[in-house]
Assembly symmetry: C2
Homo-oligomer: 358 residues x 2
């Protein structure tokens, strides 16, 4: 059966990348050893890491004031590492409360300094991006989540400010063209658009570091990670390698312009079905809809399980909404072919016509 992978992350990867990973598990670059069996300080892995860093810089069009790190711990560890490194004990950080990940980041930051929540969309269950905010000019930094994986909202225009901007791009990085230099720190768990679980990309402008007095343990200190080239200890070798292959694939396919074109094409098709089929209800404010994660419900919620069963029968996985919000969700990351969204829309249409009797 042809599978259609709508998982929210870990999620779909390009078929070509999977083939390359599988081959390298047996024999990496014809050296007679598995990628899993080579030392992280071998010239083999050093070349992997160097190329991955270089491709990140190239895709992001960033200069050498930025450093590229590949770290352990997932984006959740960045919720901790960001305030530890950037928020002086007597300083203030600006956060946005537009979803579950932003809330977790706020909670963590509040242990290190003062957190000013510039705007919250909690009043409507985080179904929109609250753009009614002012940013204190003396803040140490501003933190936002570019795409809310769980709630299905996305920033389509970022704030303009002189305060250094930190962005959690875990679920929409490299899905569209972006002025990355507007940010001073960008982080993203790899397991949606740039690889598999186990590695986190951090890109940081060096000018914002070294301004806090607290003790920073080596594994949580950006400056030490930079000084050690992401190798304070053994990095997650296979996950870094999968990211490299995914970056190569993005470039080969046409780069961010092409990723953006595909994301718009996929999401337009799906939202158009959600808007036109009366059984299906998109839950997010139209202007804030995510191009990565479409969240929706059924007007007859009792039918949700039946719809999920139909999805399963048609090889469509990952349609169930996040346990914190319920409902349904279709995630459409870079590697998703348009044909999978077409298949989902066809099934939705059929299901709508079967069950919606007005």
């Amino acid at each position: 059966m042809q599978m259609h992978n709508f998982n929210s992350g870990p999620s779909i990867l390009p078929e070509k990348v999977l083939q390359q990973v599988a081959a390298s598990i047996i024999d990496f670059n014809n050296i007679g050893l598995s990628i899993l069996e080579i030392g992280h300080r071998s010239t083999w892995f050093e070349a992997v890491l160097a190329e991955a860093k270089q491709l990140i810089k190239q895709i992001m069009q960033l200069n050498d004031d930025y450093e590229v790190l590949f770290l352990h711990g997932g984006a959740t560890t960045q919720f901790l590492e960001v305030p530890m490194n950037l928020l002086p004990a007597n300083g203030t950080a600006v956060y946005f409360d537009n979803g579950i990940w932003g809330k977790k980041a706020i909670k963590e930051a509040s242990h290190f300094g003062k957190v000013h929540v510039a705007a919250s969309s909690a009043d409507k269950g985080h179904t929109y991006i609250n753009k009614n905010y002012t940013i204190p000019t003396d803040a140490a930094y501003l933190h936002l989540t570019s795409n809310n994986t769980v709630e299905g909202t996305q920033w389509h225009q970022f704030p303009t400010t002189n305060v250094p901007m930190v962005v959690d791009m875990s679920s929409d990085i490299f899905s569209k063209q972006e002025q990355f230099s507007q940010f001073k720190l960008i982080y993203a768990g790899a397991q949606k658009n740039i690889g598999a679980a186990g590695v986190t990309l951090v890109v940081v402008h060096k000018s914002i570091l070294g301004k806090v007095d607290r003790y920073l343990p080596p594994m949580l200190d950006y400056q030490q990670h930079i000084a050690n080239g992401s190798m304070i200890n053994t990095p997650p070798v296979i996950s870094v390698y999968i990211t490299l292959l995914t970056l190569r694939w993005i470039i080969e396919e046409g780069g961010l312009a092409e990723m953006e074109r595909r994301a718009i094409e996929r999401s337009r098709l799906l939202y158009s079905a959600l808007d036109s089929l009366p059984l299906f209800v998109p839950t997010v404010a139209r202007e804030d809809r995510s191009h990565m994660n479409a969240v929706f419900t059924l007007t007859t919620t009792a039918l949700e399980n039946e719809f999920l069963a139909a999805c399963k029968q048609h090889g469509m996985v990952g349609i169930k909404g996040h346990r914190s919000v319920g409902g349904l969700r279709a995630s459409m990351y870079n590697a998703m072919p348009l044909s999978s969204v077409q298949a989902l829309v066809a099934l939705m249409t059929e299901f709508n016509n079967k069950h919606y009797n007005n």
Copy 2:
């Protein structure tokens, strides 16, 4: 060319495990999706995690007072997490200074409380295990490194004490039979004997937790990891899966008794060559020699590069010593066949006879 993988970590894995990993990258358990593409909260991955935990308990013969965790961050993050969770600000922890990893653990712990170094082998460049120690009975815990990967020493008899023992077993875990219940916390980066880089095993007796007052960030809090079943955030899925396959392999091959038999057979063969070939000099005190990592030099150090070149020519990788100590090192983890050690010994003998003219 037949390769012989003496890497110190990441290092050799069983051929069968590599084949299974490669297959699962294309299609995991015939579900039509890659192991890299499934959600970490899917029943598929939940089964992987549950089996891995159960096999750890089975191999270690531990009761339910112990919890098994699979964490991000490597053993180096445990250097931080152990004192954060176990060392009260006014308490004392006992550490052993027998090598580079113990030293790093000491440095990190000293930021959280008082560290009492019970014994050090720094006087002889960490070429032995200093067993001349007394352990303060009121210490919060005792920490030791069971095997010193870099220096090639190994504890063959652990201290006897009522103080809770914490052990970094990164480089010799599951290479021999052990009374694991003598420890209250065992941790190990997976990339030597139990899998690939990217995941760290932590096994902890619950009785030692909850005794410090400081703020513990979720990602560094054993109790929160336990409460969330190692899934506070997305775990390193592929690395956990590789560990599961490696654990299955250990059991299929005959368990720890068989791993121990093989380790002794391999290391006896190599040390016997080091003892008998005059060109080669084992650097470690005989009684403390590691069965995992044999460290040595050449009487004529000028010949080291030539020997390394000969190794390379014969497909033997990883023989160069750690950059901090120099010299040569052969690591012989669980997956290494005796034939690789036989090949190395044959080459050493040939090299000795060619160059040692007395």
